[in-house]
Amino acid sequence: MGDFFQSIPLIDASASPKGGNGAKNIALLIDESIYNIKNIFNDGINFFTYESLLKLSGISAESLNEFDFFLSDFTSKYKLAVNLNYDFANSLFINLFKEQKRGFIALCKSPKNAESIHRSGAANYLFNIVKNRSLNRINIVDIYSLIGSEKPAEIKTSYNIINLKKQAKGTLLRICISIGATHPKRVWQSEKYADLIKLLSENLNCEIILVGTADESSAAEEIKKNLQSGTDINLIDLTGKTSLYELIYLIKDFDLIIASDTGTLHVSQIFNVPSVSVYTGNANFYETGPHIENSYVIYSKIECYPCMQNEPCRYNYACKNDINPEDVFNLALMQFIKNKKHKHFKKHEIKLSDVKKRVISNENKGNFSVAVCKHLDSIHFYPLYKKTITKNEFASEIFKFCWLGVLSKNSVKIDKNNVLRYTDKYYTIDKSELNSLIKEIYFMKDVFENARKSYIDKKFIDIDKDDFFYFEKFKEAVKSLGLNYGYFKLASDYFIDELNFSGVEKSFNDIILLLDSATDILKSNSSSNNNSNNSI
């Protein structure tokens, strides 16, 4: 569900006549479990599931012919087909469309799906961030848009394709707490939720609504047990009591949502609901963080965060322990202050600066960090205050902008001044590390530019044995560049794969554009450093 709602900006843009395709007829192939959400969309957005497309009566000539006929008819209706999902069946389906196709497309025969499914550009990037998670800083909402429309997402406060609109509020603040997630690593402890609820109730005139599936009802009971009786808490437990449609209907009108990385959080973003989210375990906020501007994310500084979903936790979920209810509460206060909800505060004299200072002070003392979402033509996360970062982190930050240029096929032009302004505002890097990074990137740019001369300018199309041998060697060298310069690994993996899908020329052009943009930014950064005599 979360993935689906994170693709809404792309779908809305496709339907938009301004800047989009102005598509009048959009078909969405979705999972059966979320089929009922179709009711929140306007006409013109049609939903399908595989169950609705197929009869499962076995392979018979009748069913094959019928399916063939259906496909011929269906696939000829659409000018553009996009597959955002690395799924074999979906990839095959996309193959059958006649007009333009983007994303993951099964083109070739191979016993291995990885060889069969074609993915280039943003789809290839998405595939490679799975094994290079710490290097990716592009939000999945932007990635989906880049796959489907070759530009970052256009984030709106209200989407035209959705017919549900916000309604007038009541007298109390309505705070939603979504207590579950699909993986235990992303679920915050019940007792902490209970403490948070106490803080909210003591300080705000609010009603708190717990949402989740039936599986989360027991966690809701745990939370309620932890709340002492006698405390005046206005708590409504809706876990397991709402259909998906009902849940969405409620979410759109909340004043705040507090959640982990779960579908409910992403639904709320579509309705511009302010959020404070707790990111633990394998949830990487850069990748799947809430995309509304000024959304807060709180996460642990522990070394192992973010981890891999299937990796067992050896630290007893320590990342969850680093996040305290008091800090989540403070971030909630900050949201309410920014959104001018003072009248609901029981103690009226609360200033944003004071709360922010508290958060920063706790951040310095504790083992957690806060990130806030900002929009600079795409979705970004920055810390609350200026921080010192390592060379690898700084490289990832710079590359983020460069990747946007590459994946949008250079249609998104990097506003160097803006990039520098933000990096300067939020990050400090040791000068020697910065200089070292600049040298390394220049070195890698040289490597690729020279290689391009050998393999493209020489018209490397008719490969002779020697050329092939040396090209294979070059590929090995690129892999080892990725291993030796950790921040470059995502790029090297992307390059190696892109060779298979888009050919030599495009692959080189992509990487050289990436490195070129990076050197351009870093050069400007360095010269402004020299002028100001400050380290950035």
């Binding site: 197929l54 499962l56 392979i59 018979s60 012919n65 063939d68 095959l92 099964a106 083109l107 025969k109």
Partner: protein, 600 residues
């Protein structure tokens, strides 16, 4: 079968056509059994018209024969020569019918199969019932005398399912994965099982974990702490379990057969179950010596054992009810008589007396008393000093299975003493038969073996092999049979015939599959029926769609095809996918996903 059957003749309105009751249930109409028979026959003719002409009709329930006569008359009128056969569940009822009704003409014209004449073990005999009724030959229309369904519900259910299995099931449509242990004797048996499954036409793969054995042995190098070593070994075991799950994830088999000591953790078994995959475990160990069965038996769908009685009691005690006795066997293609003597092999592997196997405690004690014979001992773990060490061949090295075949062939007498870690010589309570019993016989070897409880009914002492009771008895019999070659050869030949007729891995597989197919009939039928389609029909019906037709034409050599077969073939190809190929792969990918979700 229930042997308590009561009969009663009943007069009807038609004097010449009495009816009767079996166990209080009326077999034919008490009013007009002949009219009832004609109506029944008309229904069968109707079915023939709707479903097409079968090669034969099998009627479950002979009864007084009125219905069969009516059917035969109708077919004769239509000048139809379809063969009719009858199945009578009980010998008692058959004898009653013969004695009380005029069925002599029918008995001459029909083939009648009486089910319970060999029905001690319904699953073991399921194969023979199938063979007897030739259920796999031609197209068959199966029908029944309605009253017999109530009178003999178990026999009817069994026969109906066997008929159904032969209609929808072909081995090539059934995917099996055999999971081997890292090491140990059961991996040899796993290999034989795999070969036999291939021979029967199953779509079978084998998962070999032997490469993990070195890592397993090496665990002890890291720490002397036994608990830590065990913990490391457990981690390795878990890794193998995960590897198994990875291997089945993309192409789930229909059945996974685990051999003893293979990585069958509870998590793995539950995961396979959630994927709709049936699991079987063949525990080919002594349950008293290795007790890990109690963590496995309850988690697999079918637990096969080489022991029963006490083991079955223990299994019931832990709440298991899915266990079946399945003794070991031989693989005739491998365990065979050598017809062309190789002199070099004969010199090396031949002797008057031989034993091939590991040096267990009781064997050392017994064989130390046979050193005056021309006796060769083959195998490992014989850590002994003189005088036994003089008999150990090849420096106590492990022998291969190919060498075992030579040993069994070239030795005049093969001793087979079942191992025991705590009996001085012979285990007086030994029950199961080890693989050697079958393998020696299949190779045409003469065998002297210690008495085992389960030998009764499988092999005859003095005809198939010779049993010794004590070490003295063993010595006497060695001397006797060395001096009586003709008798020795006759026993070996007879033993070979017995084992090849009754105790092959093919036969065990049939039995295993009968158990599984009969038990999971509806589920497996549903799964397979959605897969297969007759090739020729498909080709005919896709004539209008050239691309699809050409794609299916590639499989014209096969009788039938599943979408999985087509998908596999497409994936093995090279180059771009055509539209039809993409469509077939997509259908297969979606069906696999949905079948997994629906637990089919």
């Amino acid at each position: 079968m229930n042997n308590n059957i009561g009969f009663e003749i009943i007069e009807t309105k038609i004097a010449s056509a009495p009816s009767f009751k079996i166990n209080g249930i009326t077999v034919h109409s008490v009013y007009d059994p002949l009219s009832e028979a004609r109506k029944w026959a008309a229904q069968i003719i109707n079915r023939i018209e709707n479903e097409g002409m079968p090669d034969k009709i099998i009627v479950f329930g002979l009864g007084a024969g009125y219905h069969i006569k009516a059917l035969a008359d109708l077919l004769k009128k239509q000048e139809n020569t379809i063969k009719i056969e009858a199945v009578e569940p009980s010998e008692k009822s058959f004898n009653f019918i013969k004695s009380n009704f005029n069925v002599s003409e029918l008995l001459k014209a029909l083939k009648i199969t009486v089910l319970d004449s060999a029905c001690k073990n319904v699953y073991a005999d399921a194969s023979s019932i199938s063979q007897e009724l030739e259920l796999d030959k031609g197209s068959i229309l199966f029908c029944e005398l309605p009253s017999y369904r109530k009178i003999f519900p178990e026999a009817y259910g069994l026969t109906y399912k066997l008929y159904g299995i032969n209609q929808f099931f072909t081995p090539s449509s059934f995917k099996i994965l055999v999971v081997q242990p890292m090491y140990g004797g059961s991996s040899t048996i796993g290999n034989y099982l795999h070969s036999a499954l291939l021979g029967l036409g199953y779509d079978v793969k084998i998962l070999d974990f032997s490469k993990f054995y070195d890592a397993y042995k090496y665990m002890g190098e890291f720490t002397p702490n036994e608990d830590h070593v065990n913990s490391l070994k457990q981690s390795l075991f878990n890794l193998m379990s995960e590897a198994l799950l990875s291997s089945v994830f993309n192409e789930p088999p229909d059945l996974v057969i685990f051999m003893a000591q293979s990585p069958a953790s509870e998590r793995t078994l539950l995961k396979l179950k959630s994927m709709g995959i049936k699991t079987a475990y063949w525990f080919v160990e002594d349950f008293r010596t290795l007790t890990y069965w109690n963590t496995i038996a309850g988690n697999v769908d079918y637990f096969f054992t080489i022991q029963k009685d006490d083991f079955f009691t223990e299994l019931k005690n832990i709440g298991a009810n899915n266990f079946h006795y399945l003794p070991l066997a031989c693989l005739p293609d491998f365990h065979k008589k050598i017809t062309e003597i190789n002199e070099e092999d004969r010199i090396k592997y031949g002797s008057d007396v031989s034993f091939a196997g590991a040096g267990y405690y009781n064997r050392k004690n017994v064989f130390a008393q046979l050193i005056d014979f021309n006796f060769k001992i083959w195998g490992s773990d014989w850590h002994v000093g003189l005088p036994l060490s003089l008999l150990i061949q090849d420096g106590g090295k492990r022998f291969t299975e190919e060498e075992a075949v030579k040993i069994y062939n070239y030795s005049k007498i093969n001793i087979n003493l079942h191992s025991s870690m705590w009996h001085w010589d012979i285990n007086p309570n030994g029950d199961f038969l080890n693989p050697r019993v079958y393998e020696i016989l299949a190779c045409g070897g003469f065998q002297l073996v210690d008495r085992r409880r389960y030998m009764e009914g499988l092999f005859e002492d003095g005809k198939d092999l010779v049993v010794f009771e004590t070490v003295d008895d063993l010595r006497k019999k060695i001397k006797y049979y060395l001096a009586n070659e003709e008798e020795r050869s006759a026993i070996a030949a007879h033993g070979r015939e017995t084992v090849l007729n009754n105790h092959t891995y093919e036969r065990r597989i049939r039995e295993m599959m009968n158990i599984i197919l009969l038990d999971s009939y509806e589920q497996i039928k549903s799964k397979i029926e959605t897969r297969k389609q007759n090739i020729s029909e498909l080709l005919k019906e896709t004539e209008g769609n050239k691309e699809l037709h050409d794609l299916i034409m590639q499989f014209s050599g096969k009788k039938s095809i599943s979408i999985g077969d087509m998908a596999e073939s497409i994936k093995r190809g090279k180059g771009r996918l055509s539209k039809s190929e993409a469509m077939i792969l997509m259908l297969w990918a979606i069906k696999s996903k949905l079948v997994k979700l629906q637990g089919l």
